[in-house]
Symmetry: D2
Subunit: 347 residues, 4 copies
């Protein structure tokens, strides 16, 4: 009935393909075009849903006057260039996380987006998960009073491919960035200081990449409340994604999603299902909700649930964490902010 | 790529609409036509997905040479007439449960379907639920040895509308029929005898309809194992759908599905989510899987997972249960079978 | 400070020893004497706590003017003779279950106890279990409205010794009797009719004893509510003792007690502890509470929580169940009562 | 049969009384004497079990040649003096935690105990809890491979009395000391560095005492594995005592103990029992097991499960934590050790 939203997808790697597949089932969207340097090798996949054209040059998409919004799903290092150009063409932007590895770049993007008056959503998909959303609502309703300590458990079932690891920006940027955002989302507190401890306990390859595979982050919020993030690159039993928020009146916990609730009781004990394997399984519905929310903002003009500042704050925490890991001391967010520009940046 | 399967939907009440909505998202299907006596009042709904035509006369669908298969979603009393005619036109049939309230009619349908060589699937959707399927697999794998006692808990959150209740055939036919099928599916045993106890504890209206709202069925399988079905028309906390299979080596239980796994711990106790509300919520995915399975059988020519005999056996149990309720004694399946035809019917 | 209660224990088999060991840790009790035909072979055990004397003749205990109360822990067939004599000597009596296998005998005991004005408690220990007590309280508080359907799961981890089985009175008397009492206790309803289905699925020895090892009982209460009891003589995973009470406003369930709450999550799944092994482990504390409650009644003169009528009602249900098993039909409690005396007995 | 162990109890405050009550039910022990400055006001309590004498002067107990072992349950500041003197009289010592607030004093005690050849057990009662013991066993069995990250949640239901708080030594010494021990016990790793973050979020009184009421500790073990301790002085829902050990092959968690397993399902949700209220309820059995283990060591001559070095290591962690809180930086155990004596102390 109402006009469809025309979307262009820039980057058709794992996450770009995922978004394309989801968009193809939405009645309100038309996937106008997809760009990827290897798009010519994806004809089979592309043919499974209607798309007006494909291209190896993302600029074709930005220059296309029919397109209302773009999904930026390229490697992180290309985000800034693409989003800045998208802003000049007034395309609404959904950008995967992190916006960039360089604080000045992220600030540049945020200013451009603001000046252009376009919508800008960052891909923190977990905010759209049924369990995390419920925790958010319960905290907002005051069910546990003021949060005092929040714990996030976020463990991958297996390390990412080595080629990815080399350019991932390190654990705080490739993995913990989701948790940095989640901890702000659930508490609605801002972080004042980050202390990080990391180790290589799973695969020496991470040491070769100047990276870690196991870490705990201790965060202090501006109000004195505390946060803990537990990260591992390998939980053999599956994707472990839980949170506990403890407050003045009580505590909220969530469990992992499982494929079925069967419990088998034998003389060996009571055996039940392990967590879903990885993010494609666990956040399957959340990925759809994330895009639906973005599309709704395009229709209504509302600010996205995950906006540019949310992207920035998580990156600030990642920078502080990276420095803490390197220097073995707690690092204040303020220190990162001031240093990057000589003063606290005006957004 | 491959030719789409053309489907006609006969009956666009609650369940017909549900199936239509699901089919409309399947790439491999074309909804060719929908018939319903009130179809003219449904233009808004029909317009939300493509359909070649609608009609108030289901015969238009049966006569349409383009149509491969039909979904029979009318009130039960019309099933027999429609399926018999569908068989003459060699349309594959998916038929909602029960096939009929009259044993001879059901037998007639089964013979017609067999003679026509068409596929015939009965709408026992719960076999396609992730939890029940897992129990089935675990039992098949011998994880609990031989089943000795099986319990099914099947409680609706609220009674069906009064207009529906009047013509539903009574609890054994409108509600327990699903459980009769499930208990055969999970054990792969056949039932020898049924004893039923029922009461009106929720709403006197059921008494006026010669029906009950609360019941327990005690079943004896031919091998001496036992089965229990617990039915209530009103569980205030939601749709309660569980099973326990106890066997020589152990026991399997499943829990209800919930919207989220959040647990809130306060001085009042630990509060977690109640079950999903009703079958639309709980069996949302199962309804899709049910149709996918039917469509796959059309492509491969395989026998449906729920075939005509499954429909028949559940109805035999319902007849035995209804008689047990009426006469206050255990009733053998054999007694029902012999009586209906003077001898055990040849299928 | 206050005078100790002098107790005599009659019968020092498994359960007599258990009670003696528990009593020996109670400050308010003196175990005055223990009688058993084999007591001379138990000197080691007797020496572990103070007792004034032992005897092979239980009459010594009944004739002892120092003794306030006796625990009758002999085989069932001796209960009647002992309790009748205890009544003449005005000893308060704690009697293991069942009182007898013969309805007239039990009625005789109840009249004697009433005429003598002594306290009489029957050994339905499960009423003193922390979980069952909590269910009782929650039902009493109206937390689930009026009970509509109650399920009891009561499975032993292994069959009793063959010598015991031969004289146990059969499953309804040796095993289900506990559940018959529990179902009355939790609902506070009286049973109108019993239908029982039993099989031999575990050990052919039970068939040789005219007994069964697997059973389901379907009970109808006088108000139309329904009850289910699930019994097995062998749950390989341990003693399975659970209940579910479903009512007009909700449902209550309890879980089995376990030794620890550890959950181990590996790629094989999530493994947790199986139930405690048997009644000594599960009802360890309840056995103590049971005696404490009896002793408290002696001090206060209050009616025991499990009185003679409770013993009688459970036996009536057991008789009805035994007949139902034999005759394959539902049996009314009224039928058993009338038949035993030609009229409803006056208590 | 065998000679009873004669025990003297020094200090009859809350914990001394608890131990006395427990000892009084052990067949193998004689409570020879109890000392407390206020013992004359406790005649009622003392009379509930047999004791040869009471005294206001603990030296009477140490000088008593009949006494084999003493329980030191005084305020912490008196521990050192008493234990040193007990060592000269060759009494085996069970000492409540911590041994002292001053590292040199603790080292002095350890040397005295060693030189005297007496048994010395420190009161880390949680090692004897059924759940924590199970985690220990599972980790030892290699069920989760090598521990990578361990989390301890240890929250009191309410703050200790203000008079106690003033002299408690601060959170790391009065509360976290148990967790410091537990984390070593479960992992069998030694801690290399401690970083602590603390806040006053519950009661300003703690600030006045230079103390905190909410804290998180991030520990680094010598092998690079990481530990987290979460402490709060007020969890309104009860005593929250859990642990998660995550390792290379899986993860182990435990739940809180509860009084009953009843779950009430209504339209408000599913409500179950909150944790037991405090340590008297949760560690009721562990307190008995702790003393039984100590008594068994006296009989067998085996080293106590919690020895002097365990007391020392936990105190080192507490000192490091206190300094970290004060100076806002991670503190190495080595730094505390070297500083206290100018060199690493020889034990």
């Amino acid at each position: 009935m109402s006009k469809k939203i025309n979307v262009g997808i820039i980057g058709a790697g794992k996450i770009g393909k995922l978004h394309a597949n989801n968009l193809s089932t939405f009645a309100e969207v038309k996937i106008r075009a997809i760009s990827d340097v290897y798009i010519d090798q994806m004809t089979d996949w592309v043919s499974t849903f209607g798309v007006d054209y494909v291209t190896t040059d993302y600029k074709d998409i930005l220059h296309d006057p029919e397109i209302d919004a773009v999904l930026v799903c390229t490697p992180t290092k290309m985000h800034v260039e693409i989003v800045l150009e998208a802003a000049t063409f007034k395309k609404h932007v959904f950008c995967e996380k992190p916006i960039s590895f360089i604080l000045e770049d992220t600030l540049k993007v945020l200013r451009a987006v603001k000046d252009a008056g376009i919508l800008f959503q960052v891909g923190f998909v977990r905010r759209f998960d049924h369990n995390f959303k419920k925790v958010y609502e319960l905290v907002r309703q005051g069910r546990i009073g003021t949060p005092h300590i929040i714990h996030i458990f976020s463990r991958d079932p297996e390390p990412a491919p080595k080629e990815y690891v080399k350019h991932s920006g390190g654990m705080p940027f490739d993995m913990t960035i989701h948790d940095f955002d989640m901890i702000r989302y659930l508490t609605q507190f801002e972080v004042e200081e980050v202390y990080a401890q990391g180790s290589v306990l799973i695969d020496e390859f991470f040491r070769e990449c100047n990276d870690i595979d196991t870490a705990v982050y201790l965060l202090r919020f501006t109000n004195g409340s505390l946060g803990v993030i537990d990260n591992s690159r390998k939980a053999e039993y599956g994707y472990d994604q839980r949170v506990e928020v403890f407050g003045s009146r009580g505590s909220i916990t969530i469990k992992n999603d499982v494929d079925n609730s069967a419990e088998v009781m034998t003389k060996e004990g009571v055996l039940s299902e392990k967590p879903k394997w990885f993010y494609l399984e666990r956040y399957n519905e959340a990925f759809k909700e994330e895009l639906k929310s973005f599309l709704k903002c395009i229709v209504t003009g509302q600010e996205p649930i995950v906006n540019g500042n949310d992207g920035l704050q998580a990156e600030l925490m990642a920078h502080a964490a990276a420095r803490s890991l390197k220097e073995g001391r707690p690092v204040k967010i303020q220190e990162i902010l001031l240093e990057s520009t000589g003063r606290i940046p005006r957004l």
